[in-house]
Every structure is written in structure tokens, then in C-alpha cells.
């Protein structure tokens, strides 16, 4: 009897499993249709508080919040453009410290509350207030990089943002364009916990549904006239595994997926469902020389020849010739890349005349011989360790290992050491990572100084400045950086100094310059969409093709 019951139950279960695919259910996973654009991202937003944008969950919430919140100006779709958004124009005080943005009339937030200069000022002050404990891009990066002091509403439509000192205009405008504007009354009424899960936005889309761990669905805000809304619904699916996301693209369930593994481009193209795009990105990939005299590897082992050798400019220059970036890009990243001459993106306002160091291992060896580091009996000149992380794309382990091998080939025995991300970041920030480290840093297309800001001037500590991870202590550069703000009124002189600084960086390199990006993006054949070189995805600009 028991056996029969067990058998019957098992049969029922098997039957249910077999029939289930043919039956319909109330809830479904969103798929693309004429009104719906589906975008896959690997990360998942933790908090949707606009002041917590780009926090510890990476930038996944930033990508989404660019659709639910507007900014005063916006990093444009076109390369290098910064376009008016909530503000139609701005004026700058004579001393360059006060920027007044003139906002459009008749703006509102999702809940109907009028959006005025008071709200814009509140947004800046709220994210910058240390008492609120926000981290991430706005609170951590914009505040520090612009020297933000305060924001105030001068009138209903004029908001003034005050900084400690002047700054390159494009850079400051770009940074202010990363601060998401939200309505004061709505957010004052919410606790931090409520603000993390609820969105009262100011952008072209509002939050319709958030299923944690699965997807977030946005709906076009009626009457929002400042940006296009190509689709009525935008769905952001959180797919952590890149191969799975590619499978969803191939089966037509995802329209846009940025940063797919290059090795899967062929599968995407062959599917006939999507384009596999490759293009230069803004993220700069490099090998850093840690020049910190107090770094543990130098203090604990003062006789380490390699750690001492890289303190010399001629050695650092020699190593530039050892890396074949063309081979790396063509064979490992399956695309072509332009080798950088400095820390500024080639597509940004890079140095106009400098030529990238060519791949010339013979010259590298010759220079190392001349510097007094000949090969020993074992063929080794000196040894170096190169900590790295296991990431994807240009930071993939195979890229790291290839560069280590190229250095080893010229007698600089280089060991790539893959570390847990937290350890790597902690050592990087405290300038203890090295002697070499394989790194990357975000960049822009709209201001050379944005890219140069990694290494600020004497006022910020020069070699000891927080983001100067190599501890490069170059007086010309640091003095130049401190001088740049005074030249904002004279763009020609400002540019001239930028160029001289980039030349200094080239001649006394704290990095082995590699390349920017490259980026990949799978885009469904059914849509028109312009890929962006930076990290963002502007889904609002995508439209359905006419013949679809």
C-alpha cells in the first residue's frame, strides 16, 4: 500500500514537472517587447538612495539611478559632451569658486512635488553631510575632487554650489553632473532605511517594481520632456554570471549587456539576435610602480634589488618597451587598442604629439644593461612581485600573466600574485601594494584633468596624496597641478601646462602605460542604441528599429 502511494506521488511529481513548461503562471520574468527594453547587469543595487550612488555594490545602482534621477547637467551620449539637463545654463563667479546653475521652470519629482533650486541644494548638502554617513561616488569622490563647501538656493530656480577653489571648468561641470537631484520634502520625510528601498525620482523613469535579486522595472514618467523615453518600460535584470547573460542575449531575452567576455563575441554574432560591439573605453589599465620608500616590501627587505631598481627613472622607462599591448589586445581581448602615452585616455585630451612607447624588448634590455642591471647567470636581472585581482576584460588573469611573462622575457622576473579584492584595495589605498601592481582606474572623455586627478599636487600631499597609489613624488607635476586652478580663466595657458605635465609623466613614468578599456557591449538587433565609452548605459535613449 505504502509502495503504491509512493509510486503514485512520484508519478504525479514527474507529470507536474513534465507539464509545467506548457502551463502559464501569474508571475513571469520580464522579456523584451515593443514597449519593454531589457538590460542585463552583473551587479545588483544594494541601496537606491540617490546620495549613496556608486557605493560598495559597485556602480550597478548608478546605472539604474541615472534613469530615475536627473542631474543639473549630464555626461552626454556623445564623446566628451556635458549637456544641460535640469539646468539650462550656469554662470561662474569671478574667483571660480561659486557656480550658479539656472534651472528649468515647472519641474517636478515623481510624487508631484515641485523640483526647485532648494531641492538641488538639498541634494548636494545631504550627500556631503558627514553625519549622514554616505559613501560611494557622490559623497566620497565628488566632494573630495571638487573641494565642495556647500550648496544654497539663491532663488526658486537658481542654485549656487560653492567650492574651496577654482578648477578646470569641464572637470568641475562633469563632477557636478554626477550628483543626483532629489526632492527635499520627500527625502526629509523618509528614514535612511526607507530611502534605500523607495525611489521618489526626478528623472525620465520611475520605479515600478523591484524584485530583489531578480530585476528592477522602471516606467516612463508621463510628461518628462528633458530626455527621450524610447521605451515605456525599462527592465534591469541582475544576472551575475556573464555566460548566463550572454545566453539571455542570444535567446532574445536581453537587449543590452555591457562587458560581455570577448571570447563569446562569436556566439553572439552567430545567434543573429544581437551585435557584439568592441570599442575603446574610458577605464585606464596600467601597471603601477610603487615608489613609496616606506612600503612594507621595501622596509622589510631593504636589499631587494628589484624594489630598489624601480625607484630609478631609467629603469621605469626601460620597462615600458617590454610590453606588447597589440599582442595582448588582439590575442586576449580580441580587439585592437591604442596604447596610452600617459594617464589620460587617448580619446580624451591626451598629449597631442607624444608617441606611445613601442614594443621593443631589445631596447628594453639595452636600457637595463646601461642602467647597471645586466642579466645574471640564471638570466635574471632582478625579481618583482605584481599583485593583481581576478577580474574580467582588460584585468583578466590571462592579461596579467601575459604582462608578467613579457617582463620576465627581458630578464625582470615578474611574479603575478592574485589577491582577494579587499586585501588588494586596502594595500593600494595605503600605498603598500607592489613593488608592481596591475591596476585600473576610471576615466573620462570630457576633461584631461579628470584623468590627471589621480595624482594631485603638493596641497593634497603630492606623493602622499590618497589617490597617488604609486607615491610618485614629482615636483614639476605636483606644482603644476597646484597651478592649474589659477589658469582656469586662460584656457590656452591651462592646456599648455597640462601638456607639459603629461610630458613629465611620460618621461618619468610612475606607470607602465597600457591602454584604455577596451569595452564590449552586446546590443539587440531590434533596437537603435549608441554605446557609451564610459561605464554608463543610457537605456532611455534606445529606440525600437522601424522595421521591428
Amino acid at each position: 500500500m505504502k509502495l503504491k502511494l509512493t509510486l503514485a506521488l512520484s508519478l504525479m511529481l514527474i507529470l507536474m514537472l513534465g507539464l509545467a513548461p506548457m502551463m502559464s503562471s501569474a508571475q513571469t520574468v520580464p522579456v523584451p517587447d515593443d514597449d519593454t527594453l531589457v538590460i542585463a547587469i552583473n551587479g545588483e543595487p544594494g541601496s537606491m538612495d540617490p546620495a549613496q550612488v556608486g557605493g560598495s555594490t559597485g556602480g550597478s545602482n548608478f546605472r539604474i539611478m541615472m534613469h530615475t534621477f536627473a542631474t543639473l547637467y549630464e555626461l552626454g551620449q556623445a564623446s566628451g559632451a556635458i549637456d544641460p539637463y535640469l539646468a539650462h545654463s550656469f554662470t561662474v563667479s569671478d574667483d571660480g569658486t561659486e557656480w550658479t546653475f539656472h534651472m528649468h521652470e515647472g519641474l517636478t519629482c515623481d510624487d508631484g512635488e515641485p523640483l526647485t533650486a532648494e531641492d538641488a541644494a538639498y541634494s548636494f548638502n545631504r550627500m556631503a553631510d558627514p553625519a549622514n554617513g554616505f559613501t560611494g561616488n557622490s559623497a566620497g569622490f565628488v566632494v573630495a575632487s571638487t573641494g565642495f563647501v556647500e550648496a544654497r538656493a539663491d532663488s526658486e530656480l537658481d542654485v549656487t554650489i560653492v567650492a574651496r577653489k577654482p578648477q578646470n571648468r569641464a572637470m568641475r561641470l562633469g563632477l557636478y553632473s554626477e550628483v543626483l537631484v532629489h526632492c527635499k520634502d520627500s527625502y526629509e520625510a523618509m528614514s535612511f532605511e526607507e530611502a534605500a528601498r523607495n525611489v521618489v525620482g526626478s528623472g525620465p523613469y520611475s520605479l515600478a517594481e523591484w524584485v530583489p535579486g531578480e530585476y528592477m522595472s522602471l516606467k516612463a514618467v508621463e510628461g518628462f520632456g528633458l530626455r527621450p523615453q524610447g521605451f515605456e518600460n525599462l527592465v534591469w535584470r541582475f544576472i551575475p554570471e556573464p555566460s548566463t547573460a550572454v545566453a539571455e542575449v542570444i535567446t532574445g531575452n536581453v537587449d543590452i549587456y555591457k562587458e560581455f567576455p570577448a571570447s563569446q563575441a562569436e556566439a553572439i554574432r552567430n545567434s543573429g539576435m544581437a551585435e557584439a560591439r568592441f570599442f575603446p573605453g574610458t577605464t585606464r589599465t596600467y601597471i603601477g610602480f610603487n615608489l613609496n620608500p616606506d612600503a612594507p616590501f621595501r622596509v622589510e627587505n631593504p636589499d631587494d634589488v628589484g624594489a630598489q631598481a624601480i625607484m630609478r627613472t631609467d629603469v621605469r622607462v626601460a620597462l615600458q618597451y617590454a610590453i606588447d599591448t597589440d599582442a595582448i589586445c588582439e590575442n586576449l581581448l580580441l580587439t585592437t587598442c591604442e596604447r596610452a602615452t600617459s594617464l589620460v585616455n587617448p580619446s580624451n585630451a591626451d598629449h597631442p604629439t607624444l608617441e606611445p612607447y613601442p614594443y621593443d624588448p631589445a631596447k628594453a634590455e639595452e636600457l637595463l644593461d646601461a642602467a647597471g642591471y645586466p642579466r645574471g647567470d640564471d638570466g635574471v636581472r632582478f625579481s618583482l612581485e605584481m599583485p593583481a585581482r581576478r577580474l574580467t576584460g582588460a584585468m583578466a588573469p590571462e592579461v596579467v600573466l601575459a604582462t608578467a611573462q613579457m617582463l620576465t622575457d627581458i630578464g625582470v622576473q615578474t611574479e603575478a600574485i592574485f589577491q582577494e579584492s579587499g586585501d588588494w584595495v586596502a594595500a593600494l589605498i595605503t600605498h603598500d601594494l607592489g613593488p608592481l601592481y596591475f591596476g585600473r582606474t576610471g576615466g573620462s572623455e570630457w576633461s584631461a584633468q579628470y584623468d590627471m586627478a589621480d595624482i594631485p599636487g603638493h596641497e593634497a600631499g603630492c606623493g602622499e596624496a590618497e589617490t597617488n597609489y604609486t607615491n610618485w613624488n614629482n615636483d614639476f607635476w605636483c606644482t603644476g597641478w597646484d597651478t592649474l586652478p589659477s589658469l582656469t580663466g586662460d584656457p590656452e595657458a591651462e592646456r599648455e601646462l597640462e601638456i607639459a605635465m603629461l610630458e613629465e609623466f611620460y618621461n618619468d613614468p610612475p606607470w607602465i602605460m597600457l591602454f584604455a578599456g577596451p569595452r564590449t557591449e552586446a546590443v539587440s538587433n531590434r533596437i537603435n542604441y549608441q554605446s557609451r565609452a564610459d561605464y554608463f548605459i543610457t537605456g532611455y535613449s534606445a529606440t525600437l528599429k522601424d522595421d521591428m
Binding site: 509502495l3 512520484s10 511529481l13 514537472l17 509545467a20 513548461p21 502551463m23 502559464s24 503562471s25 501569474a26 508571475q27 513571469t28 520574468v29 545588483e44 544594494g46 541601496s47 538612495d49 549613496q52 560598495s56 555594490t57 558627514p130 554617513g133 559613501t135 560611494g136 561616488n137 559623497a139 566620497g140 569622490f141 573630495a144 575632487s145 535612511f192 532605511e193 534605500a196 528601498r197 524584485v211 530583489p212 535579486g213 531578480e214 535584470r237 541582475f238 544576472i239 551575475p240 554570471e241 555566460s243 548566463t244 545566453a247 539571455e248 542570444i250 535567446t251 531575452n253 582577494e420 579584492s421 579587499g422 586585501d423 584595495v425 586596502a426 593600494l428 589605498i429 590618497e466 589617490t467
Partner: protein
């Protein structure tokens, strides 16, 4: 019996505390979590301020006992990344993990049992060899690889199954929305099928080999020979004497298997974009979200220990000679 249960429950508390302590120490030994919650441009002073604000400046034992004290009051603190109570974040994902674990458990049990019994009763035949070869292959396949292969074949090539995603069944059920749960059931099963197979193949293989051994062991016992000598049919011998007696070691392993499946879902949840606790913990560990990791570990270890307790209690039911004292 009651004394035994109370003793085991007290032991459960000790085990959960031990697990939280180990987790707490390992997450802190891996580096200062503060670095995940400050900008790369933060100065040393700003980092110190963030460390103070997050409470990481206090001695480790103070941090740990604070967590335990708050846990006793039902307060697990806010997730550092989600900025909402960690308990809510974990419980939001728990139903999806239970769907996958229970589904995988049922599938592995239902499939492994006939395979093991069949292989035992056909010992030394081609059927036995084929089934055990299949079991060995199943045990050798990593869940991650198998998941991707299932996606490639059934999702991409044949287009029979959805590639990834999830339709909720247990969550609306737990929240009392029974109609919604029942309406969702077909979709839930459809999305569950491939992850369930991926998570259970290893268990099916292991269990079928174990069941085969247990049944073979029992078939050699005197009482089975006696039963056959009495003229009972082979079916009666198997069902009434052999299988029931073989169940005791099998139940032990099945209970542990449930716990094993809880661990295994981390990889499968990632491959199939399944919104469960495994994936959440993986992300939380990467982001050093200490309150979230500890809360998830407390809840998962409680489930783990409970599964073992249930197995122990079942011994008494399966074999009346065993007294739980």
C-alpha cells in the same frame, strides 16, 4: 525523548554560536572591512571616521559580543550595502533558496532510490555497471559546469527551458497569498527545473551509490536468507525486510545531503540568477558586509542543524530498537 530534544536544541545554540564566531573571525582576518565603505580618495582621517561610524574600531571581541547581544534581542543590525535590516534582506531571499534546496532534495531522493535498489538487486550485471558509471560521472561533474551545459543545451539550443530567472512560489505561500502561490506554481516549476537538476546531480550520484551499498549489506543478513527460505516473494523480501533495514544509514546521509544542498546552491544560484541566500552571502562576503554575512550564517546554520536533528529523530521511528536518550 523530550530530554534528548532539549539537549539537542541546546547543542544547536552552541553550534550556531561556534559557526558565527568562526565566520566573524574569518571575515575580519581577511582584512579591514572599512576599505569597502570609503572612497578610494578618502584620507586617513576620513577612513578613521568611517571605521568609527561602522563600529570596526572597537576590539574584535567587543564587536562580536555586541552582535550576539543584539541577536538575542532580535536585532541583527543593518546591512552595510543595503542599508536596511540584515534580517529582512536574508528572509526576503530565503524562500527562493528553500525552493531550490527542497526541490533538489526531493529530486535526488526520488531518483537515487530506484537507481540504488536496482543496481543492488542486479549486482554485477550490465545494468549495475551502467548505473554506477553514470553515478560516478554525475559525482565528477562540477555544478557550475553542469548548469552552464544545461543552459546551453536546453535553454539556448533547444529553447525548451528558460535560461535563467525565477518565479516565486514559497514566498507568496509563506505570506498567506495562497491563490498567487498556486497560480505561480507552473511557472515556478518551469524555472526551477534546470537549477534543481544542476544542484541535485551530485546528490543523486552519491545517494544512489550509498543506497546500493546499504541494500547489498542488508541482503547478506541472515534474516533476509530466512525470509527467502520461508518462501516469500523477492518483492516482499525487498520491500519488507531489505529496504526498511537499509534506510537507517541512508536517512543519515539524506539529512546531511539537505545541508550539503544548502551549500551547493551558492554556485547554482549564481549560474541561474536565482535570487537566493547563497548568492546574497557570496556578494556580502565579497563586499565585507559583516552584519549581512553573520545574519545569513546564523539562519543557514540553524537550518543545517535542524536537518540533522530531524534525521536523529527519524532513527527512532525507523528502528524501534534505538532509544533517544
Amino acid at each position: 525523548m523530550h530530554t534528548y530534544i532539549i539537549r539537542r536544541l541546546l547543542l544547536t545554540v552552541v553550534v550556531v554560536l561556534g559557526v558565527t564566531l568562526l565566520t566573524f573571525l574569518s571575515i575580519h582576518l581577511a582584512g579591514d572591512p572599512t576599505f569597502f565603505y570609503v572612497s578610494e580618495r578618502a584620507s586617513a582621517e576620513e577612513r578613521a571616521e568611517a571605521r568609527r561610524r561602522l563600529g570596526f574600531d572597537r576590539p574584535l571581541h567587543v564587536q562580536y559580543f555586541d552582535f550576539l547581544f543584539n541577536l538575542a534581542r532580535g536585532d541583527t543590525g543593518n546591512s552595510l550595502t543595503h542599508r536596511v535590516p540584515a534580517f529582512d534582506v536574508v528572509m526576503e531571499r530565503m524562500p527562493a533558496t528553500l525552493e531550490l534546496t527542497i526541490g533538489g532534495f526531493l529530486l535526488s531522493t526520488i531518483v537515487a532510490f530506484p537507481i540504488g535498489v536496482l543496481a543492488a538487486t542486479r549486482r554485477g550485471t550490465m545494468a549495475d555497471g551502467t548505473l554506477m558509471l553514470g553515478a560516478m560521472l554525475g559525482q565528477s561533474m562540477p555544478g557550475f559546469w553542469l548548469g552552464l551545459m544545461l543552459i546551453l543545451f536546453f535553454g539556448v539550443t533547444l529553447r525548451w527551458m528558460p535560461v535563467s530567472g525565477h518565479v516565486a512560489f514559497l514566498k507568496p505561500l509563506f505570506e498567506g497569498r495562497i491563490d498567487e502561490a498556486l497560480t505561480n506554481l507552473p511557472g515556478a516549476i518551469r524555472y526551477l527545473l534546470m537549477p534543481m537538476v544542476a544542484v541535485s546531480v551530485y546528490s543523486i550520484s552519491r545517494n544512489s551509490r550509498l543506497i546500493r551499498s546499504a541494500v547489498l549489506e542488508v541482503l547478506r543478513q541472515d534474516y533476509v536468507v530466512t525470509a527467502r527460505a520461508k518462501g516469500l516473494t523477492e518483492r516482499t523480501v525487498m520491500m519488507r525486510h531489505a529496504i526498511r533495514n537499509a534506510l537507517i544509514p541512508i536517512v543519515t546521509v539524506l539529512a546531511l545531503q539537505f545541508a550539503f544542498l544548502l551549500n551547493g546552491v551558492i554556485v547554482v544560484e549564481t549560474v541561474f540568477s536565482w535570487p537566493g541566500v547563497g548568492r546574497l552571502v557570496f556578494d556580502a562576503v565579497s563586499q565585507r558586509d559583516v552584519p549581512l554575512v553573520l545574519t545569513a550564517v546564523v539562519l543557514l546554520s540553524f537550518l543545517f542543524v535542524s536537518a540533522n536533528l530531524i534525521a536523529d529523530l527519524m532513527y527512532g521511528f525507523l528502528d524501534p530498537r534505538i532509544r533517544l536518550e
